[in-house]
Symmetry: C2
Subunit: 330 residues, 2 copies
DNA sequence: ACCCTCTGTGTAACCGGTTACATGACGCCC
DNA sequence: GGGCGTCATGTAACCGGTTACACAGAGGGT
């Protein structure tokens, strides 16, 4: 037995579909009698409106597409939490799509959103602006998070990676560290690249010697990086990882090598995932949930309006903990 | 300018919508010439098919609805990761909806899924079976995770909370602990209730004295519970928290009170979130991602088929770390 | 009695796809 | 040349809602 439709309800209530629709949507130009007959028929049939059909005729889905890369645990949950909080306040649902894989696959993922959602939030730190702009369904309000910008006219939210990296360099300098190492994220990832470039630059300005290695934003790669450094007997007294995950891996490797943190080596990360607080990791705090929330707020504001406003920059903040100072805050 | 539709493409290619549709869907009964004309028109117009309209006529959305309660960071990301992995392997998207709030709100959230998704995964540990069954759109394949079951004929996946709690009791007994405390999750939450009941029972069987306090699954409540115990001078040498979050809070409170873990008090949690490994917390491992994955696999299997198969029980596993044994594994 | 307004309701077109069925062209075989 | 099968294509109905517009009947004013 197929599900009941509005026509079934109309038949049962001996009314037209128009009247049923009016009742269901709370219009006031309906008699009390009709209202009751409809409610009864709905109850008897167990009728639930078909949201897809509704969307089609209203040209409005009440859903927002969220396209994210493969994110690591806490970062993912935080950003989605922020979006969801704001979305459900406005009666929107989130349609999730992961962006693992090739640009082709990415383009497909974006296209398949057309007609399903009223707007799109895209986070694709590994794609360049052209591919992305070409892949976005034209005419669908979209907002980009941390994308290689390229001056395209899309609305975007960016994280001030440079400011974060500079803050770490400042901190290392203040601690009197001289031989600094940076474990960068994967090349081609905009966050990784921006952080690395800004950090390198900041070290140069402060006359700190800076060595750069590459990881992939995963914990294990931070560990490997430190093992390599120790093997090659490269001397260093401070380490800045491109994200907290790698910093945590680095911490483990340092400790198993018998090096004291922060005495021998000061360690800092980036993101401030909840784990960082528990491990006492100095890091650059990104208010992740807030980032997601802002993306949604701006997207909703632009839906309906022709308003594809410009950029928005989120400033992060250094949080000093025990991996760089013995008694921080004391 | 409105977006292009299939009719615009047809007009431009001087073909009928039927032919265009056939080309777009890769049917083989189309001439090479038509194929080219369509591709060209598509390119020129920047046409992207309207997924909503497609769903309506196919009665198939390629989306799965996921309704979750307010979950804590890592648990949320892990379970969604598991689902997403499986979903994108089969070309499905996930439509997310959070279930904060009253049963009324919950019912609305579930109903609004009809016509948007091909199936539903519901996790609602705080709702009872009747409310839930009544709120589910009839005729929509659904699978419940860890719901108060009540023998309704729905497909479900359950976590064997009792087995986990018993394993902890066994472990405490083997360690020679006698005065045990359990910090339970919020009453009414099925996981919290099952764990507490099973643990109490297991302690009774093993003749361990067991005191039960209530928290809310958040870190702070674990902390508070321990503070209360210490204030009231209640003696205890082992603590089992209803989840890892609370165990972590408890750890902090114990340490600030100057109690040694595990010497003075052994501590165990439940879930095995990534943080647990980093903090050396003994816990009951739930393969969270796998749980999500299985839910999706079973749901997809039942779509199309009339197959509303029965329950599935996931057995957790005790992971011993340094909050209960000085050198675990040694 | 007439016209006008107002209210409640129904008919049918529309949203943008898919597809059953009809059609017309072509080639083949007897 | 007639009958038939095959193939590419077009026409129009359909999915399940919304809503512009038409309309009937009641009530009120003159």
């Amino acid at each position: 037995m197929a599900e009941a439709t509005i026509r079934d309800v109309a038949r049962r209530a001996q009314l037209s579909v128009a009247t049923v629709s009016r009742v269901l949507n709370g219009f006031d130009n309906v008699s009390e009698q009709a209202r009751e007959r409809v409610s009864e028929a709905v109850r008897e049939l167990g009728y639930v409106p078909h949201a897809g059909a509704r969307s089609l005729s209203l040209a409005r889905t009440n859903a927002i597409g969220v396209v994210l890369p493969d994110l690591h645990g806490e970062f993912f949950s935080e950003i989605v939490r922020g979006m969801d909080r704001e979305a459900s306040r406005h009666g929107y649902l989130l349609l999730l799509s992961n962006l693992h894989g090739s640009p082709d696959h990415a383009a497909f993922a974006l296209r398949t959103m057309r007609g399903r959602v009223d707007g799109l939030i895209v986070m694709a730190p590994h794609l360049n602006a052209e591919d992305l702009s070409a892949a976005l369904p034209p005419g669908l309000p979209s907002i980009l998070i941390n994308t290689r910008d390229g001056g395209c006219s899309r609305a975007a939210i960016h994280l001030d990676n440079a400011a974060g990296a500079q803050a770490v360099a400042d901190h290392f300098e203040a601690l009197g560290r001289k031989r600094v190492v940076h474990v960068a994220g994967p090349a081609g990832n905009i966050d990784a690249d921006e952080r690395a470039a800004a950090f390198r630059e900041a070290c140069a300005v402060r006359r700190l010697h800076c060595e750069v290695l590459h990881g992939d934003f995963e914990e294990a790669s931070g560990q490997r990086a430190v093992e390599q450094l120790i093997e090659s007997a490269h001397p260093f007294d401070a380490l800045f990882a491109g994200n907290d995950n790698m910093a945590i891996g680095a911490l483990q490797a340092l400790r198993s090598a018998g090096l004291a943190v922060p005495e021998d080596v000061a360690v800092a990360g980036f993101d401030d995932i909840p784990l960082a607080r528990h491990l006492g990791l100095t890091t650059v705090r990104v208010r992740i949930a807030e980032l997601g929330e802002r993306a949604l707020v701006r997207l909703l504001a632009s839906i309906g309006r022709e308003d594809l406003a410009g950029d928005e920059l989120h400033a992060p903040e250094l949080v000093v903990r025990s991996t760089t100072e013995r008694n921080p805050g004391a």
